[in-house]
Every structure is written in C-alpha cells, then in structure tokens.
C-alpha cells in the first residue's frame, strides 16, 4: 500500500446522498478476479447521462470526490474502493460514510475524510464556481485546505499512522501471532469446525 501523507488535487462535486456501492460499481462488474480495471464500471449507470457531473470536461482529472451524506452504503464489495482508485481518486470527503465502505477504504489506502455537511456545501459551491480550485487534504496536519479555508478533521491515530506509513494490516497482526496461538489453545471444544463435513 502506498503511503498517504498529503494530497493536492481538483474536486468532483457529487451532490447526492446515499450513494450506495451498487451505484459506485454495479454487480455486473464484480465478476473480475483482479483488483484492477474497475474504472469502467465506476458510476456506470449515471455516466450514460452526458449531464452527469463526472462527464463534464471541467472536472476531468479530479482526484478528490466530495459527496453527500451516507456515502458507500449497502454491499460490502471492496470493488467500490478499487473502482474509485482505478479511476484516479485518492480521497473521498463526506459528512457520513457507511462503516464497511470506510473500513475497506482504509485497508486499501483510499483516504475517507468526514467533515460537516456545511463544509461539504461550501466546498461544492467553491468548486462549482471554480472547477480548477486546488484542494489539499493533509493527513499529517489533519485538515482540508482550499482558498483561505482550513477545515480540521478527526481520524483515529492508529489508522492515520498505518496510512501514513503505508503498512499492511496482515503483516502487523503476524507480528503478534503468538497471541493468536495462545488464544486458540484456550478455545472451548464445543466450537464448531467445518472439516470434516457432517
């Protein structure tokens, strides 16, 4: 996973709430067995509309997605995160994320940042005024900056450290695998096993 310290880019303003993972990447695109190539499916049902914000030339190359509340609800498909990353997004800003989507994004290195809805509105307005507006999302300083605005955000220290170091979770757990051995030695015998099949 790449280290994430700070990112500066332009914004795609997505004025919609409850953007579920079926919208981010519909199920028919989930048949691939790789982590790449999902950019074609990103918001595919909405992209057929030439008026959809993603099709506007002024937002080409945007790397920061700013969306309405409850982004990433629904299915647990991590393909939604890969699709956003494959397309080129580095950060998603919203006032509220679904838990599983947020967890997936933090594992895969897509930064999800929660800021208040009024700040989301301000950012939408600023970007619609000036699509070339550069926005910085600084994980080190824990703030979002544009024009003269500095919007602080919260993120737990552990996740921040992991993202800034680009650390793989499995490697971190394996360092403490002795704890897992010890736990397994004490598990009750009545817990079910799948093998052999009964």
């Amino acid at each position: 996973m790449d280290k994430f310290i700070s990112h500066t880019g332009t914004v795609l303003p997505l004025r919609r709430t409850n953007v579920d993972t079926d919208q981010i990447i519909p199920a028919v695109y989930l048949k691939r067995v790789t982590k790449s190539g999902f950019e074609d499916g990103l918001f595919s049902a909405w992209r057929v509309d030439p008026e959809f914000v993603m099709n506007k030339p002024q937002h080409k190359g945007a790397t920061i997605l700013v969306a309405g509340a409850d982004f990433g609800t629904g299915s647990s498909r991590e393909h939604a995160v890969w699709a956003l990353q494959n397309y080129g997004f580095k950060v998603v800003l919203s006032s509220r994320f679904a838990d599983i989507f947020r967890g997936n994004s933090q594992k895969a290195g897509l930064l999800t940042v929660i800021i208040a809805q009024e700040k989301i509105e301000a950012l939408w307005a600023a970007v619609e005024e000036d699509p070339a507006l550069e926005v910085t999302v600084d994980l080190d300083a824990k703030n979002v900056r544009f024009e003269s605005e500095v919007i602080p955000f919260d993120i737990d220290d552990y996740t921040r450290w992991r993202l800034m170091e680009g650390l793989d979770d499995i490697g971190l757990t394996l360092k403490n695998i002795g704890d897992v051995d010890a736990f397994e030695a004490k598990r009750p015998s009545f817990k079910p096993e799948t093998i052999p099949a009964r």
């Binding site: 709430t17 919208q23 048949k31 409850d70 679904a98 967890g103 895969a108 757990t173 704890d179 009545f190």
Partner: protein
C-alpha cells in the same frame, strides 16, 4: 459515566461476545478479535486468495472456513456449463482456490449449496456466542442466533484467511425493543422495514443493534434471521438477538451442532448470552408491535419506506433538504407520482427469495396465500429457494407444485434477482415487488425499479398485479 469503585457495570450481549474473542488489546490500537467462522463465496474472495499467494501465506484455519457458490450462479440449467465465460471464470477460481488451500466448498449441484447465509444456519455451523464474518454485508443474518456476525471487504477476507483474526474498533450498542403482539398479516420483514424507515439508512451507523422485546421473542428463528439480515440497511455494523429455547430447539439436530457433553457445555455457555439487566446501551428505541402494518418501500434506498395502506409521499412535505432532494430523485427514477395510493402501483415481476426471505417458512407463507389461485395477467413471478436443501424441503411438501400451478417459475438456489449478477434481472423500467433487501437504483437490473416487500405482500401482489396484502384478496 461515573462508577463507584468496585462496582461492576452490567454488559450487553454484544459486549460479552466481544470480550470473549479479544486476542490482543493494546492502548491506541483496535482490538484484535478472534473469528470463529469465516464464510466465503465467489465474488469477494478471488483477490484475497491472490494476496495470500503473492505473500506466500497459507489459510490458518481451513477447518473454521467454508465456501459456497451463490452470488453469480445461474438458477436454470445448473447441470450445464455456466454460459457467461466471466461468471464461469469466477466460479472456477473459487473452486481452484478451495482446492489449493484445503477449504470445504459446496458447489452448484451439491445438496448443501445455497446462499451463504442460508447454508450456515442450516448446517449448524452458526451458533450462539460466535464471531462470524463473510465478505458480504448480509452476514448480520447470523446474529439471529446470538452471534456477533458482520460483513467485511476483500482485504479483511485476506486478513481472516491468513490470521483467523481481525483488528476491529469497538462498536457502540443500540437496543431496539419491539413490544406487544403483531397484527395478523404482519411479518418480521415489516418490522425491519418500519425500523429502517424510522431511523434511516445511517441511523445504525457505528452500532451493533440488539433486537429485544416480546414481539422479537415471539418470532421463529427464520423470522429473526430476516430482521438481523437487514441491520446493514439501517447502517448498523451488526444486529443480534439473544439465544433462547427456540435457538436451542433449532440447533439441536443440525449436522454441526455440538454432541454429547459438548452440547451440555455449549448450552451452559449460551445461557449466559443475555444482556445483563443493568447493562447500559448507548442508544435505545422502542416500537409497539401493534402499530406496525404491512410495509413497502417506494424509493431507492431502504429507508424510503411506508405502510402499504398509504400513498407515494410528496417530496415538498419533507422538511430535511437532503431527504427532500433524495425523494425527488427517487420518484423520478421509480416513475411514481406523489399522492398515488401504493395499492394502485402495477407490478411486472414478483421476486420471492434471497438471504432475507428465501427460507422454507417464507416459501410456505407465500404458497399458503397463492394456493389454488392464478397469477395476474402480464405478471411474472420468480421463486428462488435460498438453498438446495430449502428447494428439496419445499418439493417434499409440494410447494413447487403450488407455485407452478399458480403460474410462477420455480428455480434453483442462489442470490439470483436480489442483485442481478446472474441472468435473473429486471429490464429497463420494469417494476418489481421483491422480498430481497435492497431497492437501490439498478440493483435488480439496469433501470429496474424495486419495491421491497414481505413474502405475504409478494404473494398477494402476484395475484392482483398491484401492490397488495393478503387482506386485500
């Protein structure tokens, strides 16, 4: 919270299960939780196995892991090779991975194949007090047994395969009490749709929900699974129900239920799995069962629901500006006019199935309504059992004949039209009454329009051709 020294606060059910599974706890880190059961299917696992191979890692506990094919599988001609080459590759990839890593798999055609959340309880590998994960958000279904069960993404699937653990930050706890008696014709599906409409798709975010109260206690195990299944539609991390005599009765003779002295030890433990009377939940809400009536959704997220007796809402009446905008968009997508009575909405396709409502009791309830009747003209009905065993049980009772005589299609087990990954899809503009769990835009097929309903409403709707409950017949 202020505690008197030496006083021990009571614990909620989910906190007890959590504490029993903490492998490692360190300041400033999420807890490392042990995972008792890992369920796998073809869609969210290939990249996880690839990750293992790249890192030269093994599956730590194949004996706590089980795979089935469900999301992408056809429900017709399952004895023939899968027609779609991309679907076939995904299924073959799961089979090869299961073989390479020594994982038990129930493939298409196997008697134990089916939707992963129907198969687990059926085999008895879902038991109280367990931690259960799957790369599928409806893993919360297993919470009906008093298990802490939640959906995960592919990175976490890989983590569990490699370590049998997951780092997790502790969720908040919410109690939802449903007290009193349900009216006739009202099911657990109506309860959960009413709850989601009340608290919203983000209302459960960050919480594990415990469903409690006399109306919940009165539900069968399968009906409890329907409620827990849709916890995720309220945004919750998981949903669960404390085990009781019904849970034990359901588990008693399941293939993987504990035997002999293990059964006694298990039951003794399971009986401790209740929230203590002095436990404090972070949030608590109460619903009266008698206030709930058959419920449907009218919009494009599961929170956009209302009693079937009502009418399509007018977005102008919605105070919250975001909700109003979402409602406006939803009505355009759904092709609905504000003020139309729901019962006047014409339905093209009825889908009975899914991990929400694809179990034998759901099929029985629908068949009871349909028996001796004929399907409405220009309406199609798809009945897709949740598992091969559900299908066989239904056939043994003659339910397949009831559905076929009625004019419905009787299919093989799988997720099918719930998410339309296989050929079972809605066409553009086609409108369904579906016993599944999501009414998202395009969920059941590009341009398809979904109304979520209970099996009873699905059956009555198939008879009348418009959204209906059995009371309308």
């Amino acid at each position: 919270m202020f505690l008197v020294k030496g006083q021990v606060m009571g614990k909620t059910l989910s906190e007890k299960i959590w504490e029993d599974h903490v492998v490692r706890s360190a300041a400033g880190e999420p807890d490392l939780l042990y995972i008792d059961l890992h369920l796998i299917h073809e869609v969210t696992s290939p990249q996880a196995f690839d990750g293992l191979r790249l890192a030269g890692r093994k599956v730590r506990r194949p004996d706590l892991t089980i795979a089935t094919e469900d999301h992408n599988t056809p429900t017709l001609n399952i004895d023939k090779p899968i027609a779609d080459p991309v679907s076939k590759l995904q299924i073959d990839t799961l089979r090869n991975n299961a073989k390479e890593f020594g994982i038990r798999i129930h493939s298409l055609g196997d008697i134990d194949q089916g939707i992963v959340h129907v198969v687990g309880p059926q085999l008895g590998v879902t038991q109280p007090g367990m931690t259960i994960v799957c790369g599928d958000s409806h893993t919360s279904t297993h919470g009906a047994f008093g298990a802490l069960a939640f959906g995960i993404g592919t990175s976490q699937v890989e983590h569990v395969l490699a370590t049998q653990t997951l780092p997790q930050s502790k969720p908040k706890t919410m109690a939802i009490n449903v007290e009193g008696n349900l009216k006739p014709g009202v099911t657990s599906k109506d309860i959960i749709l009413a709850i989601i409409a009340q608290i919203g798709t983000g209302g459960g975010q960050g919480y594990v929900i415990e469903y409690r109260g006399s109306a919940i206690r009165a539900l069968s195990m399968e009906a409890r699974m329907t409620i827990c299944n849709m916890s995720i539609e309220a945004g919750a991390r998981a949903g669960l129900i404390a085990p009781d005599e019904k849970t034990l009765e359901y588990l008693k003779n399941k293939p993987h239920a504990p035997q002999g002295s293990d059964w006694d030890a298990a039951v003794a433990y399971w009986k401790t799995l209740q929230s203590d009377s002095d436990a404090k939940f972070d949030h608590e809400i109460t619903l009266k069962a008698e206030d709930i009536s058959p419920f449907i959704t009218w919009g494009t997220n599961p929170g956009q629901g209302a009693p079937l007796d009502g009418q399509v809402p007018n977005p102008a009446d919605i105070a919250d500006i975001e909700d109003r905008g979402a409602a406006e968009r939803a009505l355009v997508y759904m092709g609905l006019e504000a003020g139309t009575p729901f019962k006047k909405i014409k339905i093209d396709t009825v889908f009975l199935g899914s991990c929400t409502n694809g179990r034998i009791e759901d099929l029985r309830a629908a068949a009871d309504v349909l028996k001796g009747k004929k399907i409405a003209p220009a309406t199609r009905m798809l009945v897709v059992p949740g598992s091969a065993r559900v299908r066989l049980a239904a056939e043994a009772e003659g339910l397949d004949k009831v559905f076929l005589d009625f004019g419905a299609e009787w299919r093989q087990a799988g997720c099918s039209m719930c998410l339309g990954m296989n050929p079972d899809q809605l066409a553009v503009g086609e409108r369904s009454a579906s016993t599944s769990n999501r009414n998202f835009e395009g969920r059941q097929g590009k341009g398809g329009r979904t109304h979520l309903v209970s099996p009873l409403v699905a059956a009555a709707t198939a008879i009348r051709g418009t959204l209906s409950s059995p009371a309308d017949l």
